[in-house]
Symmetry: C2
Subunit: 148 residues, 2 copies
Amino acid sequence: MKLEEAIQTSRFSSEKHKAVLNILYTAWQLKTIISHELKPFGISHEQYNVLRILKGSNPKAMRVKDIGTRLIEKNSNVPRIIDKLVAKKLVKRLPSPDDNRETLIRLTAAGMQLLEASTRLVQPNTIRAIRLSEKESLYLNRLLDGLA
Amino acid sequence: MKLEEAIQTSRFSSEKHKAVLNILYTAWQLKTIISHELKPFGISHEQYNVLRILKGSNPKAMRVKDIGTRLIEKNSNVPRIIDKLVAKKLVKRLPSPDDNRETLIRLTAAGMQLLEASTRLVQPNTIRAIRLSEKESLYLNRLLDGLA
DNA sequence: GATATTTAGATGTAGGTACATATATTAGCA
DNA sequence: TGCTAATATATGTACCTACATCTAAATATC
């Protein structure tokens, strides 16, 4: 749905102002689509993102801190997302041999399995929901890079 | 900051996939900027949006339901945002003469004053943070319209 | 080497989303 | 009319962000 219909307004003070609202609205739509796809797997979008980040270093464990730097939302409270994943036995907390302040996090077999199963569905369904060609996506990325 | 630096990755399965992450990241940046600007005024981004919507119909009161349809995030819990605004005496709940199920919401003088003062700062500072020309914004809007 | 500073992570709190459900009231209709 | 269905709002719960603060441990500085 176009922004105008979605928020029932057609008066924007400038294209720039409209762009701000448009980005916020589109992001909300995307989050909604992704969360909906993840629902059958019993994990939230944020939990999914953490699992994906962990997969990148698997089987090596990652520090909580390094997970945080790779998340899109920089103020995410990583320890608490980890709590939820630990409770579901999808990840494991390990002591760090290098530094006792650190906690290392590693995917469990169950975590890897759930991640792969969910990604097989979520990824293509999300991509399919985006009505943009690769070329248009490239333009969009150029406009967004360094926008803010 | 560009997406690649922000999430420390340069591997995306497609431009389309990158576009999804880029929209989510840019929206997070914008929200952060706006929330930061609003901090001195003691209201959240969501509370600010509700105030702005109410201003559109002021001095006529609005139904809770109609406020909801104009918000960008469609699952926002409007009654609870109203609770916070009522507590700060920025809006008032009124009974509806037409339908006793409805609650009508109206800006108070204090609400109008805070809205105007905050908008004078937030609006230009947010717009200034966006490094896009009007022409680029127009292209961006075309790409985003009906993207999802 | 002892003390101060910094860092990593966990935790507390306020406010938010997403979604299910409760409550009151209105509309629909046999 | 009287009953059912739909509607408007409020409320409960789980999980999230934003941000302050706490604790333990490592690093820096004298």
